[in-house]
Symmetry: C2
Subunit: 271 residues, 2 copies
DNA sequence: CTGAGAATAGAATAAACATTCCATTGAGAC
DNA sequence: GTCTCAATGGAATGTTTATTCTATTCTCAG
């Protein structure tokens, strides 16, 4: 017997399970729900059916195909997800802002909001294939070099910490003493460069020289194009929301740590 | 005339506006809504009224006091807020996870989710008064010293960047060459220390010695208690969610940049 | 071409719901 | 002490919404 999905994740899985061999109208329901799962929590069965282009009764039957007793039972799953994902965040942010337009609390509310937005955008916009390629390219490297100047430096520094903790050879190009660490990049190595517009000249030069030599390069940046286009350069764009002239870089750090841990997992898992 | 609040922020403001001189039951409604605004989107009047300990009709009257024609109109405001704050994030995360349990995409989903959760917790749990005190203490300092080892180092590095960009004197204790930078902390300076359990001995010692000398210290840490309790130490706890053995530090970076920008604003605004 | 079966849409029904009305209570004024 | 008016609770009402039932259409096998 097909048990009713108790969470949004289970729901999505169940949706794919049944998606093959479905009559036309049922398939319309499945497609629409897959693309508009977020609307279930607040819509009526009539609205949803209209959106999917089917009769309300068709949507009802589809709910039962998924294992629920009816629409209401299915909706409860999504309502639970919404209320946990929206505890009292919005009102809390509002009350922080209310402490005064220029108060630290209001500023924190801005940064938290920007960070949350950036993380959501990251989840929505990331190209999973490029991410997979980046992990594969880095997992094959003997040593990983980390470059990032000024505001990008903390990202590289955290990558250095993560790789050290996992016992993976990594070198942070920190520019101490203005030493030319670029010369230490050898065949078989790889580079993770973090840079934001306006791109730092040194970082761009480093990316370019590695690209010319065929060294794999992964670039974390804020523009879809990235600073350098080349076959061996994989660009992972991160749209980071600004608060005034500053950014919290929440999404960039998130992507960076993902990259590091995924490479670590690939190394230990793959041999 | 009192127009109906069109957003959650306006709603909160209106709530405070009318909160004085309200009959007993109306006051109960106001108090309950202020504390449970997040429930409005999904609850019925009956549920809400029961929660507030009043009759459903009393809740109806209160909606009209706020300027709405009835409960449904008020609820629409909250529903709009929910649906904008929950675009298709949950389903997107689910689809990233579905690319395979150990895939980079699934890992990214975990970190994004953890980051979002941490930011929400930060907004909910931060003590606005302590934050205000911290900004005031730092704004009065001639030079701000920044300490943080290992995984806390990126936070300090980003603070150093932010203060530099705002033209505020700041010194990053980066431990290059194992120089004893502690000796450069003078009367009239302040310290921002970032440290996570298990606390780094050097950072704890630095905090302690500053505290003993009466130097203002602001500590960003993951435990409510913090590494050192003392009159001149202001602890700002940040609960950061783990993914396996790693954290993205989204919330900590967020709090750090807030601190920096707030101090910059206080300096330029107050003198 | 015809019959059987599923699939679908539309109408009917029943439940839940917001909303309104009215009787009762409580507080303050004269 | 009583009269008045605001405040309140509970029942009544009309609307919305999920759900079910049934007639019709469509599809495929024989």
């Amino acid at each position: 017997m097909t048990a009713k999905p108790q969470s949004v994740e289970e729901f999505q899985a169940r949706l794919r399970e049944v998606s093959d061999g479905l009559p036309k109208r049922m398939r319309q329901c499945a497609d629409y729900l897959a693309a508009n799962a977020d609307r279930v929590a607040l819509s009526t069965v009539a609205e949803l059916a209209a959106g999917a282009g089917v009769a309300p009764s068709a949507m009802m039957r589809f709910c039962q195909i998924l294992g629920y007793s009816g629409y209401s039972e299915m909706q409860q799953v999504f309502r639970a997800a919404v209320s946990s994902g929206f505890p009292d965040y919005a009102s809390r942010i509002a009350s922080l802002r209310d402490r005064g337009a220029d108060s630290p609390s209001a500023l924190l509310a801005e940064f938290v909001d920007a960070g949350r937005g950036s993380l959501e955008t990251l989840a929505n916009k990331v190209d999973a294939r490029v991410l997979d390629q980046a992990v594969a390219a880095l997992a094959g490297a003997r040593m990983i070099h980390l470059a990032g100047m000024r505001r990008a430096f903390p990202v590289s520094a955290y990558l250095a910490y993560a790789f050290e903790k996992m016992g993976h050879p990594a070198m942070l190009h920190d520019g101490v003493g203005a030493l030319q660490q670029a010369a230490s990049i050898r065949e078989g190595d790889a580079l993770i460069a973090t840079t934001f517009t306006p791109y730092s000249g040194e970082t761009v030069d480093l990316i370019q020289s590695c690209a010319d030599r065929g060294i794999p390069v992964v670039v974390l940046t804020d523009s879809p194009l990235g600073p350098v286009q080349s076959g061996s350069v994989l660009t992972l764009p991160v749209a980071e929301a600004d608060v005034g002239a500053f950014r919290a870089l929440s999404a960039t750090h998130c992507l960076a740590i993902t990259l590091a841990v995924a490479v670590g997992a690939a190394k230990s898992g793959g041999g």
